[in-house]
Amino acid sequence: MGSTIEQTFGRRDLIKRAALLGITAVPTTGLLSGCAASGGAGQQATGAKSAANPLGVAEIAPLDVVIFNGGFGDAYAKQFETMYVKEFPQAKVSHTSTQNITGLLQPRLNAGDPPDVVDNSGNQQIKTDILQKAGQLTDLTPLLDTPSIDDPNKKIRDTLMPGTIELGTVGGQFVLLQYVYTVFGLWYSGKLFKQHGWSEPKTWTDFLSLGGEIKKRGIAPFVHQGKYPYYINIAIVDLAVKNGGTDFLSRLDRMDPTIWEEGPAKNAIEAIYEIVSNNYLLPGTNGMTHIEAQTAWNEYKAAFIPCGAWLENEQLKATPSDFEMTFMPMPSLPGDKMPHQAIRGGANEPYIVPKSARNARGGMAFMRIMLSKAGATAFAQTANSLTVVKDGISPDVKLRPGTQSTVTALKAAGNSVFNPTYMYDYSAFDVDMGNSSAELMANRIKPAEWLSQVKAAAVKAQKGGS
């Protein structure tokens, strides 16, 4: 049989394949420059400014809304759209929801015909710093200076949660409305606690002794999303920040390695290690994905779990109807600089108005509706999450128990809300710390080793810059 020909071709083919599997790092610069290419925007629609229409929206101009259809769904946006039409009855609103923001947005940006307001989120979001540098984003400062819908004597900037403006500022301009406000802490089932007569532990000592009680009932006191050390890192860092106060937080964010030799970090990691040494972990938790761990928790196999406020929406289907999901702050350690009520909280989920949008003013008016109490309430009811609107939800509104408990906790926290940002600036450090935390939770290293490993990672991060 014609074996020689077959052989030579076969071999060439193999080397080709070898090369193919090597790496295909296609540069993304083409994508970036594409954003800058536009500019030939059409005429922007404007209307007369008035008390009822402070942004000067053209009342007849259609509004084009694009929503990322992710964890929050897109039903809430339809409610905003209804409110917009109520305000501008002549306007025609078009609603698009997608999981591929880049695929949808990029050609439209390049054609100079972008939508008027976009929820630029998800895996396929366009990096906002790139959009900002390419001059594609409308400066939203006028929105901040517009009176709020609920109180004409108050500017919108005074109705926002602290940190919202800072987190939405890119390159010195306020261009992103980070709309969703997420708090982080521990969660438990109100039903389980009532059933056994347990009460929410305020201090770590109480937490540990309650853990003993819980264990006696055959329930594991603690479960975490072990496959992703992100979650246990939140618990560790929050304990340390509450213990060391703002001084610890600012040194953490600027990657000062000496904090890992001092009290707060040591207290925090030793406290967490007590969960391991007391055998409080749900068996197998260190290998569980977030869904496996959270579902086990929903099945009453474990009492406490660390997570952000998206937990309720994420577990909607797995949660029994009488579960009474409840949020609580990380318990206090002796000598804490921050009060027990202090929690981690911050804004995320960026909304933008593209610069060349035909109805950019309408886009901002849409955001103004989002930032009203009615908007915030609609979001909390439909997407089960809080927004950056301060006290945005009136007390008579019925929310899901988990969301309701975060409203209560946030109110109790007052100004004691902190939001570490080191993980965005030092991602390699974050990974290293996660690895050490996973080792500690699996009892393969002790707190002293954790501290020295994390310190070494901080030294490395400080040198490497990222």
Partner: protein, 310 residues
């Protein structure tokens, strides 16, 4: 007539070769170019820093660990997969009880062939979901559940397969072997069927058993196919991205616990996208490319033998 041959050939080749150069060779050259810079992947600004990325690479302990894992997989994956596939293929084709009908496979061999091939039809995403359930770290996992039921394990201390530094790499290897055995079984079966039956019959008449038939006839006549399988599997062993990034713990693209399942491709991706060290990741890509080339060439050279025509 002869001098018309080349324009004719070029006319046919210009489009595919052009595409190949544009979509394959040019990105490689670009990757090499980027590997000499401190590009962060998200901006057009970069500085040429010479071979610094390469020198950093060789003192990077995680990179070394990943390299060791890839080399270990490179040794084990082809051997285990080929031995298993050969064994099954032999049993399905010539391993049956030789009655008066001569040479045949075990009973129901065509059904087995379909069953064995089935894993190849699954996409890696489905594979991941399935093996997450198999290796689940508590007693609800398939493997742990069986071990608990058999009394070999305490449900309070289950094996955290994919989060245990001692087991994670073996689990990933097992998944990959399971995934590929069926494919090579079918591949070797096809090659075995090309071997004339009369050779086997002659061997049977001379009183050769299964082991002898296999070692003296099947194996030598399959050498070309084995060689091909070896190279392909070596390339698979240099990759492992999908399995490691989806099944193992860790912040971006798995590789955990604590780098115990890190492979070159996952470390590359983490540097490229997550750490923003894209220039450094490109240097890694260049190293992987050359390693894969060397491995393929070595595999091809060292397995070259005299062909037997039949």
């Amino acid at each position: 007539m002869r001098h018309h041959k080349y324009p004719f050939i070029i006319g046919f080749l210009i489009a595919p070769v052009g595409l190949y150069a544009l979509l394959m060779l040019w990105p490689y050259l670009q990757t090499f170019g980027y590997s000499l810079t401190d590009w962060n992947g998200e901006s057009t600004v970069m500085h040429v820093i010479g071979l610094k990325n390469y020198s950093t690479l060789f003192s990077d302990s995680v990179f070394q660990q990943a390299l060791v894992h890839n080399l270990l997989l490179l040794l084990l994956l082809p051997v285990i997969t080929i031995v298993l596939a050969l064994f099954f293929a032999f049993m399905l084709n010539v391993g049956g009880r030789g009655g008066t009908g001569g040479v045949q496979g075990v009973r129901g061999s065509s059904a087995y062939r379909v069953i064995f091939f089935f894993p190849q039809l699954l996409s890696i995403a489905i594979l991941t979901v399935m093996f997450e359930a198999v290796f689940r770290s508590d007693a609800s996992g398939l493997l742990n559940g069986i071990l608990v039921k058999l009394g070999l394990e305490d449900s309070q201390h289950p094996v955290e397969w994919l989060s245990d530094p001692n087991t994670v790499l073996w689990c990933i290897l097992a998944v990959t072997v399971w995934w590929w055995v069926g494919f090579y079984l079918v591949y070797f079966s096809a090659a075995m069927q090309a071997i004339p039956k009369d050779i086997y019959e002659a061997a049977l008449l001379d009183g050769a058993g299964r082991v002898h038939t296999f070692l003296r006839i099947t194996l030598p006549l399959l050498w070309d196919s084995l060689q091909t399988a070896w190279v392909y599997l070596a390339i698979v062993a240099m990759d492992f991205f999908a399995q490691v990034s989806t099944l193992t713990p860790g912040v971006a693209y798995g590789g955990g616990p604590n780098y115990h399942s890190e492979v070159l491709s996952t470390y590359l991706m983490r540097n490229f996208l997550y750490y923003g060290k894209s220039g450094y990741a490109c240097a890694m890509g260049v190293v992987i490319l050359f390693l894969t080339l060397v491995v393929s060439l070595v595999a091809l050279r060292s397995t070259r033998r005299v062909r037997i025509e039949f």
